[in-house]
């Protein structure tokens, strides 16, 4: 019953090709309005033009910078807060309800407020990215720490391990697989946060570029940028998965 590699790769690629082909045909026959729904060919050509433009790469750099800074800050804070929450009962009781409450607030509504607090440079976008990717890391870190094997804890106690030893030699590695799952989600969310931030107010970045292309009715180019963002999302996801494989070598299934 194991599927061959050919099947596992061929089938989705086939589906993709058919999808694009139908889209192209619908475009050529005029069923799809070229203004609101450019054809794959037009989008490809537009992308070809886009990559020759310096401003496109500037925008990409800015957005990536915001994403990565936001991710690093958000994930690091998430790990620290998650570790505190998971380790100290009182901390958990006192602050975790707020973490959960905050996670249930539609955080885009905060974008304008961040603009006010953190200014018009990249800081407010970095903060938006950080805030949005903070929560999954906290929640997964807490869950990971809660999931550390009780037997292993007993073992460490019996060995007379200090609090620090238990934390660094058991809790941290034990929770890391779970925490990393949160970190993986966080990276994608950081990109989202950066784009939201740019939409609300920014002078540079791919979010801004989408708006500008929209004004100029360069719809195909706008689509190209959106698809490019999807690819960035996938590449970031792939990279973080690679990192995970290297760091959490012992995770199975």
């Amino acid at each position: 019953m194991t599927q061959s590699l050919w099947y596992r790769i061929g089938l989705p690629v086939g589906v993709f090709v058919i999808f694009v082909a139908i889209w192209q045909i619908l475009s050529v026959t005029g069923t799809l309005n070229p203004v609101t729904f450019p054809s794959p060919l037009e989008i490809t050509i537009a992308f070809g033009e886009l990559v020759t433009r310096g401003y496109f790469w500037d925008a990409t750099r800015i957005t990536l910078l915001e994403t990565l800074l936001g991710f690093i800050i958000g994930a690091a804070l998430g790990l620290v807060i998650g570790a505190l929450t998971g380790t100290f009962r009182t901390f958990r009781t006192a602050f975790y309800p707020f973490v959960v409450a905050f996670q249930n607030t539609p955080r885009v509504a905060l974008a304008p407020i961040f603009l006010t607090w953190f200014g018009f440079g990249i800081t407010s976008k970095v903060v938006m990215a950080a805030v949005i990717c903070f929560f999954p890391v906290v929640i997964n870190t807490v869950a990971g720490i809660a999931g550390v094997d009780e037997n292993a804890k007993t073992l460490f106690r019996s060995l007379g391990a200090s609090k620090a030893q238990t934390f660094f030699r058991l809790t941290l590695p034990g929770a890391s697989a779970m925490a990393f799952a949160g970190i993986k989600t966080a990276l994608t969310l950081a990109l989202l946060g950066a784009i939201v931030g740019e939409f609300v107010g920014a002078s540079e970045g791919l979010g801004v570029l989408i708006k500008e292309l929209n004004f100029q009715l360069e719809v195909a180019m706008g689509f190209a940028v959106v698809i490019f963002l999807a690819v960035i999302g996938l590449v970031l996801y792939g990279l973080i998965e690679l990192l995970e494989k290297r760091l959490i070598t012992w995770a199975r299934d």
Partner: protein
Amino acid sequence: QDLTPVNVLLPIPEGIAFTPMIVARENGIFADAGIDVSTSVADGSGYLSQQIVAGHSQFALMGAADAVVSFTKRDDVRVLFCNQVKNVYRIVAKADAGIGSMAELQGKSLGYTEPGGGESKLVSAAIDEAGLVVNDTIRLVPIGSAGPQSLVALQNDTVQAYSSSFPDVAALAAAGIEWVDITPAKYSNVPGACMVTTEQVLATDEGMAAATALTSAWVQGQYYSIENRAEAFELVCSTIESACENEVAAEALFAEAMNLITPPEGHRPGELTPSSWQTVVEILASSDTVPADLDIMPLISGEHVEAVIAAAYAGR
């Protein structure tokens, strides 16, 4: 009798800036003309032009710059009238900054709402003309439309001047910022938001009828608002409560809105003037958005457009 439904796309939600439309609706002018006008809203004119060019919508009220860009993408795009006959975009300096003209922005920071859109083109054109260079002799900061973030940016001197559409300028004025208008004079008569449609719509009897009814009722709303300011204000505030939450801001905004729909001596409200549209082309051409030799006349004239205009101003 049955009213014909007409949907108009707006770049911002209904509010004080659209007083003539609200007057026309509330006072039954639209109904008398046989139409029932509803609106849909997108964040900015860019989305509206897409809909018009794609042929998904029949009427949209959009910035003059967007109308011109649409026209370059689809040559049967037509403008019927403008809601404001004067420039809705302002470049203003804080009164205490000692800036009296564009040229004096040298070495200063100019706030504007956002990149992309007609306003940013006007800003770049104005900066070019003043001989300034962005990121060198002048800094541009996107501080968004009126709101706490732009207010703070002005208060703490992050920017010394601000460019935006008139409602933002009015709202910040109401919050205590004193302005000096430094918009170059040549831009003062650039049209504001204008009603855009296509020949495709006007070529049908129903489309022509809707366009005529919409235009004449809206223009009547403009006349009424100019002549009965107090009543018009009252009407808008009672219709759209949330727009008048801050009364001072609302009044300031209303005054400015009226100023912009009131035509210069010898002109009619909403009237299309070729020279002001030519200015729009110049602005856009300076940033290579449209060709400098674009012939703007087909956009604002032609058999159908003229027939609509004739009917709208009949007796005025």
